[in-house]
């Protein structure tokens, strides 16, 4: 856009009007039309599969549509129902607890592993591969492994704990331990975050460490004052992405607690009722499409607010080399 505005005649300041005129003049260029031709698949998809559905979902949330009958406009009834729905409170609390446990733990474990990878030289590549394999595992498989390995009576984890004389909890049945257990299982798949941190740490210029070592900085100081600031863009990126995905956690918990093979009715434990699971049940099991749309919009708003707070906070803590903000 800036390239187009620079053609204004000499002696006259490019005012607002002429800028707009230049902007529209861009549409006379063959290049512009070619660009929009290339963009057309995405533009179509964006309108029909993203923007349209978002608006549709907002409208649906004001109706009582249930697939079978016609949609009737009910105003904000769905939203006032939500306030009094005890299931939502449960789902929201579960999801927030899971996120608050999952995100920092993932970041800390990944950072620790990446720091160690960085110190063992060439062997780092081998370990990186080993850490990445769980990421490839289908999450349904992870959910099943959770049921098997975390089983309180005969699971491997509690066997190992009892070897150290630690009485292991009933991870899969005790409501207090279900979420911590799911978080632990999700840590099995930290590999992707490790790869990001490892790459970021390796790109920190060695001269910074040399200078710090020359000044007698301790390893902790070098970590705190060089490594962390230098990789802060990667930390920040994973912080946001992990939060968004933790708030939408579904597959692992749904597999473990909402199947009909290990739960009599497939209703599972309310300790594992996460927000998207509840949304899915409302929308596609009970066909309360209107109510589910209201749930979806609330999730959108919650995620939006959390992301904006994170973006604001990041301005203080993220260091971009060369000072540019992206």
């Amino acid at each position: 856009m800036t390239a187009l505005t620079s053609v204004s005649p000499a002696g006259r300041k490019p005012g607002r009007q002429s800028r707009i005129r230049d902007w529209f003049r861009g549409f006379r260029l063959r290049e512009t039309w070619a660009a929009y031709a290339f963009l057309s698949p995405w533009l179509f998809g964006f309108v029909v599969l993203t923007l349209g559905p978002m608006i549709a979902s907002l409208i649906l949330s004001l109706t009582n549509y249930d697939v079978i009958g016609n949609a009737t406009f009910v105003g904000t009834q769905n939203y006032s129902l939500m306030i009094h729905d005890p299931q939502i409170v449960t789902a929201l609390r579960n999801t927030l607890i899971y996120t608050v446990l999952n995100v920092p733990l993932t970041m800390i474990v990944s950072l620790a592993l990446a720091m160690m990878l960085n110190r063992v030289g060439r062997a780092g590549g081998f370990f990186r591969t080993a850490f990445y394999l769980p990421v490839m595992t289908p999450q349904v498989a992870t959910g099943i492994l959770y049921l098997l390995l975390f089983n309180g009576s005969y699971g491997l984890l509690d066997k190992v704990l009892s070897f150290f004389h630690i009485p292991g909890p009933y991870w899969t049945t005790d409501p207090n331990w279900i979420k911590p257990g799911l978080v632990l299982m999700s840590l099995w798949a930290v590999g992707a975050t490790v790869v990001i941190y490892y790459a970021a740490i390796r790109s920190v210029p060695a001269r910074l460490y040399e200078a710090a070592a020359m000044d007698g900085a301790s390893p902790w100081r070098r970590f705190r004052d060089i490594t962390v600031p230098m990789i802060s863009p990667a930390l920040f990126f994973t912080f946001i992405v992990l939060t968004i995905s933790a708030l939408q956690t579904f597959t692992q918990a749904y597999t473990a607690f909402f199947n009909t093979g290990t739960n009599n009715n497939g209703q599972g434990s309310s300790a594992a009722l996460f927000y998207v699971i509840y949304l899915f049940q409302q929308g596609f099991s009970d066909l309360h499409m209107g109510y589910a749309s209201a749930l979806a919009w609330m999730l959108f708003v919650v995620i939006g607010i959390i992301t904006i707070i994170q973006l604001l906070v990041s301005k203080r803590f993220v260091y971009y080399e060369g000072g540019q903000r992206r």
């Binding site: 856009m1 993203t50 559905p53 549709a56 370990f127 098997l148 790459a199 093979g261 999730l299």
Partner: protein
């Protein structure tokens, strides 16, 4: 620099001695060597421990899938008695082959369509200067943050309206329109191609399509492969979309099929708790992903690093 004990750079050819020491590439920093060896050993031990934790569930699964029903949880490394017939049994009890074919079919189609359509869009954003570019690219980035759950219900209603709700089409056709994350990833790559190449092609009278197809696409091959394997993995491991759209077991993907096996052979399902069969299914659904990873390992690392570094 000269004060550092010559470690990895020592046994080099004599002509490297002639180059100034500041130019010599020393990949790793050595602190005080005695302490460094010690701490390195500690890190190695930690990492080996972590590797055991990360890999043991795979070993456990393969082992348990080869045990008879009553021995599944005995936690022995080597299955004895050895029961490979679990795999034969699950093969006959459930349409595992059909599910595998379905997963392959959906995964390949999704990967091919999303790679091509995202490349078109990424090329447009990387190469062309046009009004509205910054705004539209902002929209692409915004959709990356958008929770999929928000559009889930209306999108389902669209497919339902088209009478495609109980088919496999919705699982890959949405990819015909590009996907924000891959557009972003490929754009980074297209931006790295020198503009002179395109200008030269224009001088030779190439049109935009030829520039895209004959110059940009071949040069961006790594990014395209990254996109394809990421999407293949995403399609293969997804549960939510198949749960929404696939309602007859002939159409199931392997992930949904595995969930079905858990329903069927879990202790309160109809099959009275045959975990060895479920675990055999788990192994079958995981092995292709492990193969994909080892085939495309370097692309996975590259893709993830691009994603994380440019955020």
């Amino acid at each position: 620099m000269t004060a550092r004990p010559a470690a990895s750079g020592a046994p080099t050819a004599p002509q490297s001695q002639a180059t100034p020491p500041a130019r010599r590439r020393v990949p790793r920093i050595q602190w005080k060597s005695g302490r460094s060896v010690f701490s390195r050993a500690i890190f190695l031990i930690f990492l080996i421990g972590a590797t055991v934790v990360f890999l043991y569930p795979f070993v456990w699964s393969v082992s348990a899938s080869l045990k008879p029903r009553d021995y599944v949880f005995n936690n022995q490394l080597l299955p004895s008695p050895f029961e490979p017939s679990n795999y034969v049994q699950i093969w006959h009890a459930a349409p595992v082959l059909q599910w595998t074919v379905n997963s392959l079919y959906i995964g390949v189609l999704a990967a091919l369509t999303v790679t091509f359509s995202s490349a078109l869009v990424a090329f447009a954003f990387a190469y062309f200067r046009f009004p509205g570019r910054n705004f539209l690219f902002g929209c692409v980035l915004a959709t990356m943050m958008l929770p999929a759950a928000v559009t889930m219900i209306p999108v389902y209603l669209i497919w339902d309206h088209l009478h495609l709700a109980n088919t496999q089409f919705p699982l890959w056709m949405g990819n015909l329109f590009g996907s924000a994350f891959y557009i972003f990833l490929q754009r980074q790559f297209f931006l790295g191609i020198p503009r002179e190449l395109f200008e030269a092609a224009r001088m030779d009278g190439d049109n935009y399509w030829t520039m895209f197809w004959r110059i940009a696409m071949p040069l961006a091959r790594p990014a395209l492969i990254v996109t394809a394997i990421f999407q293949f993995q995403a399609s293969w491991t997804d549960l939510l979309q198949p749960l929404i759209y696939l309602h007859s077991d002939k159409l199931y993907t392997l992930s949904l099929g595995l969930f079905q096996l858990l329903n069927q052979y879990g202790p309160s399902g109809g099959g009275s708790g045959q975990y060895q069969l479920i675990i055999a299914g788990l192994v079958i659904s995981t092995i292709p992903m492990i193969i994909v990873f080892f085939v495309g390992q370097r692309y996975f690392v590259e893709g993830i690093v691009t994603q994380g570094g440019k955020g």
